[in-house]
């Protein structure tokens, strides 16, 4: 089981599930739904928080929060287009 905080910069993944009930409600209203493609687009200079590209915009979150999102990495050569 891989979580969002373990992605490397520029990696794309699909959201599979959430492990925190309260945060999952927040993530969903911010457009992070299971099945949605995301891309790790920025890491803060001190290593935390991170920013992801989701549903066409940038969302920043702490690593601790990112660890509650279960993802499946999309291997690089199969990515046809970026997330919109």
């Amino acid at each position: 089981m891989q979580t969002l905080d373990t992605l490397t910069l520029g990696q794309t993944a699909t959201i599979i599930d959430f492990t925190d009930d309260f945060l999952s409600l927040k993530f969903i209203e911010m457009g992070c739904l299971p099945g949605e493609k995301i891309k790790l687009s920025n890491i803060a200079p001190l290593g935390d928080p991170i920013a992801i590209e989701v549903s066409g915009y940038l969302l920043s979150l702490r690593k601790k929060e990112a660890a509650t999102i279960v993802v499946k990495v999309i291997p690089e050569n199969t990515v046809e287009s970026c997330v919109i």
């Binding site: 009930d21 309260f22 945060l23 999952s24 409600l25 927040k26 993530f27 969903i28 209203e29 911010m30 457009g31 739904l33 299971p34 687009s41 920025n42 803060a44 200079p45 001190l46 290593g47 935390d48 928080p49 920013a51 590209e53 549903s55 066409g56 915009y57 940038l58 969302l59 920043s60 979150l61 702490r62 929060e65 287009s81 970026c82 919109i84």
Partner: protein, 678 residues
């Protein structure tokens, strides 16, 4: 349905939308200068409302706080949600504002509001930006699916505003339903409409609501995916190169921090040095006005109250305007351009250790100039606990009002001392006091992080908006709004305290003050030259202050402050400098009848010559000066800060805590310093 009932005096319209949907700009385009800032009852969220007239009807517009959904996660969101449900002061028409370039996420709230079954209009805001990114929205399709009027608006060029005003007249209740009907029957059988479901969140027994929320939002997004597929055409890869390039710079390991410190430096320069010019003008203006009024009105109690109580109090309020306006000018620009979110992003990890937030940095640095605008600027911190901690610790940072006190005391301590080679003792001690203030603020923040309990869940899930040019109208309205709020809300409290302080220093039991005046009258009028006359007058003022209620209080206080090395004269100055710390110097000048308070040279000499009346040792020994210096670093000697804290927290509890913990810290520290050094 036509929402206008024939006898209603106006139509009440509310703007609702996600943060960063350009809601405020649209609000400004609709109302122009016809707007006000107030509060929602019981919370610290600002209420923005305004009005316009269209085709003979008055429209009252409320700009609700930004919210991502009708399932509130923060105080702001709760306010927006409750305002839209409010039945006592019902909203006739709801304008749902969405960012056209980010339609999918913004449509979640749209579907929720439509389900409330209120007359709605959907505004596709910032349509120009969407067009630039080659995004096409089929408006007619959207209108069909949502069953409400849809208007494309560019609120910067005001394109579409007239159509919007027309559409508000034709706003209708949609027949479309988006909520998860199956789950409602299963989980919330008693709530037979979406409005009832949303309302039930605020009731005590909310079992099933979280489960419903999850299922409902997922259900909504599946519908939104269908709508987006039908109504939206956009390039597969959106051009985000500008935002990417700017982010690479603003969040860079070196350049990102360098730019942030550059911004801090500029803000600091402005509120510390540039603000001084208008502040001097205000001071001189009021001095002239006080002079004029004192001479124009007949002498007596009323004259004194108006001049030294009310006008002096007003002067003490108006003096803050330049710093507040300048700080908010910068903050509005930083917020409006999207930079503030990046500053928060790069600083979050560092500040979190202290229980603070990336957004706490600007208030804390600004506090070197003044805590009042800084506390007001904590509004940008959305997390309640982080915000309260920032408000509570910010006044520990040495502000510019402490500088005259530091300078006087340090000059007494190091009079005639040679500098240590390259370093100058006085400069080093001064810097030490500033560092001590910073250290105390950070330490207090860490302690509060563990002490304060909160029911609000803390998270840092935040949108990084695209970079935009600042909107000058939005910036101006924010600055004006903040100045007005300070003048009328915090100003009232400051004025009241100034009048109390005026009374304490200008009144005495029985007829004592008149007696002193009579004693000096003959001597002053008989004085052969002006310099003797001035010195006699100064002596009279000193005796009057000693005899006043403030003087009596100072003497009563002496046993309490004696362990710190302070006598009753310092006691009086502690009372009067509650108005503002720099008043300490003026009061000491009056007590020691050194004449002109601008000239601290004579005051310094008098203080150095002063002998303790019991021990006959120099009264301002090293130990006393250090003790007093440390006291002023920590003590909450500022009524304006307390008034602002009240205004920004809406609770007397917080200014009371601030007063007790800071003054307590000052007392204990000064006690230790004095007892060790003497």
């Amino acid at each position: 349905m036509n929402p206008v009932s024939s006898n209603s005096p106006h139509i009440s319209v509310a703007l609702i939308g996600n943060p960063n949907s350009g809601k405020s700009t649209l609000f400004n385009s609709l109302t122009g200068l016809n707007q006000k800032t107030g509060n929602y009852a019981g919370v610290t969220v600002d209420k923005h409302y305004g009005s316009y007239k269209f085709k003979g009807t008055d429209y009252q517009i409320t700009d609700l706080p930004g919210t991502y959904s009708l399932y509130p996660k923060s105080i702001d969101e709760k306010v927006a949600c409750k305002a839209i449900l409010n039945e006592k002061d019902p909203i006739d028409v709801v304008i749902i504002v969405v960012d056209s370039s980010n339609l999918k996420r913004h449509l979640l709230l749209t579907t929720q509001v439509i389900d409330l079954k209120k007359p709605c209009v959907l505004v596709l805001n910032m349509i120009d930006e969407a067009e630039k990114s080659n995004i096409t929205i089929y408006k007619n399709e959207l209108e069909k699916l949502f069953d409400v009027p849809v208007i494309a608006v560019n609120s910067r060029s005001k394109q579409g505003i007239h159509e919007l005003k027309e559409a508000i007249i034709q706003a209708k209740i949609s027949d479309s339903i988006f909520y998860n009907f199956e789950k409602q029957k299963q989980l919330l059988p008693d709530s037979n409409s979406y409005k009832k479901i949303v309302e039930s969140q605020f009731l005590e027994n909310t079992s099933g609501i979280k489960e419903f929320e999850l299922a409902d939002n997922i259900h909504r997004f599946s519908k939104i995916n269908y709508i987006v597929a039908k109504c939206l055409k956009q390039p597969e890869q959106l051009d985000k190169s500008l935002t990417q390039k700017l982010d690479a710079f603003f969040t860079h390991k070196i350049f990102g921090f360098a730019f942030f410190f550059f911004i801090l430096f500029v803000i600091f320069q402005f509120i510390f040095f540039v603000a001084e010019y208008p502040m001097t003008l205000i001071e001189e203006g009021f001095a002239q006005m006080m002079n004029f009024t004192a001479n124009a009105l007949p002498k007596g109690q009323l004259n004194d109250l108006i001049v030294n109580g009310i006008l002096a109090g007003l002067s003490g309020i108006v003096i803050f305007i330049p710093q507040i306006a300048l700080l908010f000018l910068f903050i509005a620009i930083l917020e409006d351009t999207g930079y503030m979110a990046r500053a928060s992003f790069i600083l979050d990890k560092l500040m979190r250790r202290f229980g603070l937030n990336g957004k706490s940095v600007i208030p804390m640095i600004s506090s070197v100039a003044c805590a009042v605008p800084s506390i007001m600027s904590t509004r940008t911190i959305t997390n309640w606990k982080d915000r309260i901690i920032t408000i509570l610790v910010t006044p520990l940072i040495s502000c510019s009002a402490r500088l005259p006190v530091y300078t006087l005391l340090i000059s007494i301590m190091f009079a005639g001392k040679q500098s240590l080679g390259f370093f100058n003792y006085q400069g080093m001690v001064l810097m030490g006091m500033y560092l001590l203030g910073f250290a105390a603020a950070l330490l207090a923040a860490v302690v509060l992080k563990y002490v304060l309990k909160t029911t609000e869940k803390s998270y840092f899930i935040m949108e990084l908006p695209v970079y935009r040019k600042p909107q000058w109208q939005t910036v101006t309205m924010l600055v004006l709004g903040k100045v007005k709020v300070f003048l009328f809300d915090a100003g009232k409290i400051i004025l009241a305290i100034s009048i109390v302080l005026w009374f304490l220093t200008s009144h005495a039991p029985s007829d004592n003050l008149n007696q002193i005046e009579n004693n000096y009258k003959v001597a002053i009028s008989a004085a052969p030259n002006d310099s003797l006359k001035t010195s006699l007058e100064a002596k009279m003022q000193s005796e009057k202050l000693e005899a006043s209620y403030a003087g009596i209080l100072g003497k009563k206080m002496e046993p309490a402050i004696k362990p710190l090395g302070f006598d009753w004269k310092i006691g009086i100055a502690l009372i009067t400098s509650f108005a503002a710390r720099e008043v300490f110097v003026g009061t000491m000048a009056t007590i020691y009848s050194s004449g002109d308070s601008d000239n601290t040279e004579t005051l310094r000499e008098k203080l150095m010559a002063e002998k303790n009346y019991e021990t006959q040792q120099p009264a301002y020994s090293k130990a006393v000066c250090w003790s007093l210096l440390i006291f002023y670093v920590f003590a909450m000697q500022c009524m304006s800060t307390l008034a602002t804290t009240y205004r920004e927290t809406k609770h007397w509890k917080w200014p009371a805590i601030q007063l007790v913990f800071m003054t307590g810290l000052a007392y204990v520290s000064s006690l230790l310093v004095f007892q060790i050094l003497s």
